[in-house]
Symmetry: D2
């Protein structure tokens, strides 16, 4: 009684069907070595109009075999394995995890980890000639500091500043070697200041003065980050968003730029 495989008469294809919210332990291979993390996975296939249901347990079975260290090739590898297992010609694999980067404080050089939410997505589709076309997406949320140019300009002393999130979503050539660190540094280098886990007193002085000398509106943040990513040949299209958790309000300022090359 394989209910899922019976014929469906509703004439409605399903764009995506699968599983989400599945957590899985990950070893992440990064520029500076490997580190432990936890991935949250979404795996979907397209379902033709005449098929009643997909086989949910096969997504999980595939994921359970995932024990190798993950990197920029993992999502593409998984989606290529997934399609035949699910008898599908189109599908996607996505996982979100916390990426750690060891950074040195700007003056003392003391080392500490920064954490970033990163998402890899691979989409695959079998075209008419039977070959598989894949697309690879990378998304990173980078916490930075923004300092308000207007507040600085109009005030005798001081300037309000706050934590901001710069979110970059880029489409990559699956063959290209783009690292999470490359993408993260685009946001950090264009903020009023980047953040660190551990700052000694001379570092805190540096961050305070550097950000004061480097004020940015939310509009400046998205323009400067988008401008930098635009010049990276490895990126096919990009969306840059910035959200400032305003220290003078209980709401956010927000801006977004999308560019297709």
């Amino acid at each position: 009684p394989d209910v899922q495989s019976t014929r469906d008469e509703r004439a409605l294809a399903i764009e995506q069907v699968g599983i989400r919210g599945v957590r899985h332990p990950l070893t992440v291979r990064s520029k500076a070595g490997s580190f432990p993390s936890v991935g949250t996975f979404e795996m979907n296939v397209a379902l033709p109009a005449h098929v009643k249901g997909t086989h949910m347990s096969r997504f999980i079975a595939l994921l359970q075999k995932q024990e190798a260290a993950v990197d920029s090739t993992t999502a593409v590898t998984l989606v290529r394995e997934m399609l035949p297992l699910l008898n599908a010609t189109e599908g996607s694999v996505q996982f979100t995890y916390i990426h750690f980067v060891k950074k040195s404080a700007p003056v003392s050089g003391v080392e500490s980890l920064m954490d970033y939410e990163v998402t890899w997505t691979a989409q695959a589709r079998q075209n008419v000639s039977g070959t598989l076309e894949t697309q690879l997406h990378l998304r990173a949320v980078v916490p930075v500091m923004s300092l308000c140019p207007c507040s600085k300009e109009i005030s005798e002393f001081g300037a309000h500043n706050q934590r901001s999130h710069v979110t970059m979503s880029v489409v990559l050539d699956p063959q290209t070697k783009m690292t999470v660190e490359d993408l993260v540094s685009a946001a950090e280098s264009e903020a009023s200041s980047e953040l660190w886990g551990l700052l000694k007193r001379p570092d805190e002085k540096w961050v305070t003065e550097h950000s004061y000398s480097n004020p940015k509106f939310v509009e400046d943040l998205v323009r400067d980050v988008a401008g930098r990513l635009q010049q990276d040949q490895r990126i096919q299209s990009l969306v840059v968003e910035a959200e400032n958790f305003e220290s003078i309000h209980n709401h956010s300022a927000y801006a977004k730029i999308s560019l297709t090359k």
Copy 2:
């Protein structure tokens, strides 16, 4: 020193810039009368390449004047007021709130409120002839019960069931009178069972037996809801998603259908 109005040389237009996460008290006008709620607002405009910044306080000033009861016309009204205030030719207003509907239990008829997360979005753009084109989106997240056909089929007795979220996002003709209640009922009528706040014993018996007699895969949920919305002339395009918070797993089953007419 109006920093925001200075000329920008980076040659990058900004798709959206504005405020988000602003909470505002709302009186909602619905089919069955008015009720209190709280809206969370996002308001954005497009910013041309040569302008450095928008005027963030003007979004808030506009929102502070919003004291009239809200309904399906509010988002369009606000976006039309917003564009000239911000010197913009394109922008959007979005608000999310909890919508309450008084429902009668299926057997006892006892009344109680059900709560739904609802989002209205109005986008406006001034075309070359100077007239404003607007588009109206309505999104509702409807909690329902789903009962697994496979589990019922293979088991001697019982069938696993769970809470599911059916999320419908539709584009409406701004002139049309589509109510939240109309949209919600499309999801509720196609689930294994709809939910109620208050059920007496005979109602609980009815819901249990009704859902057992009406099993649905996550694929069935999106197909049946999309099929119903497809026939509604007021809807120009639709996305239907369903997420089952599986009672036998610690993850969700998920499906999605998008249709443009």
Copy 3:
């Protein structure tokens, strides 16, 4: 077959049993008039060891009748009605909602709403002589601005600042008239600066300079707010917490003081 009322043999009394996560529309009566909001309710009773189960639907039935405007007396009124309905001698009613206060900007005087998460909890217990003892708790989360004294001290110019949450939980004499506004103002007056929804340019200058002249560590925040609440005769005991969403780190600084008089 009233399963819930059968005798339980496990000899384990239940401290709390009831419902949570129930949303209900509210009209809130405040110092400056009424406003709409949404409450999220928890209602619990204690269950003696020999009783198998409570009657869940009676909690909801009671809540459905709640149509009057809510204020500081509502939680106590509800818990007093609840106990006999549930045949209980002990129980609690709690609701959390967004409280709005209209504030005037510090220089321009322009008005806008600020939003605060507020929770009222009433606990009631029948003592041996049969009289009902009630206790009333009020909790408010107040978003404020904190500016770092160390950063200011060590830097040539500027000082990092950020949004902070001051959370105050106080036990009140149920007879006393303590308003949410009274409690909120204790946190706002002791922060580097309070926040506003809408600030014009002269206001932004004032907030920037005022906070720079008024630096506070997270330790200062909890000490100054606790010191102020300690002197309020209406408060029987208090917990003050502060969390600074540090603009130079991706984590928070946190402090807490508890005082019983």
Copy 4:
């Protein structure tokens, strides 16, 4: 200019001051081997009334050195190292992470991972004789399936069921070897059914029928889990909570038992 070390005149000791929301990569040593995860840390000390501030960066410096695999001894080890670094006589270290357990499906025996949110907390306090007293807390949130006895009793066929969270917080003798797996199994063995990541058809039949044969109210869940933990000599006190995400309502049923031995 060490602002934090200046004398404070407000005569208010601070119960807890430190950092929270710090994410750190973890290798977790468990019964069945090691696995990668991510911890979210809180570290606090008590601050005497006469000291103005603590040294926030020292908490982070300590955490950055944490590279060894974590287990039930880690929180105690960290809190013992932390107190002298912060010149404190009292403090606590807490970390929350996702714990993975490889489980075999009940009929097919196919293996998959289940994920649980786990929190270890160690509190330490130097007593008058100068020795350090420590207390160790373990908390686990275990997702299970609950099936309603009333719904089963009153219905001709079927019974509503849903995902539930059983949350156990226990105080342990720091010397005792209690594993996360031991605690988790107490909740899983007392639920209508435990959950698995991967179930084949015969497993799904087993779970469906097993849960139908094993109905539990939210009251039964907390009583049966508390009854089992009560007999474990390694546990000094316990709090058991259960929350049923009701499949027939849009709210939860909740119960709680606290026991001190």
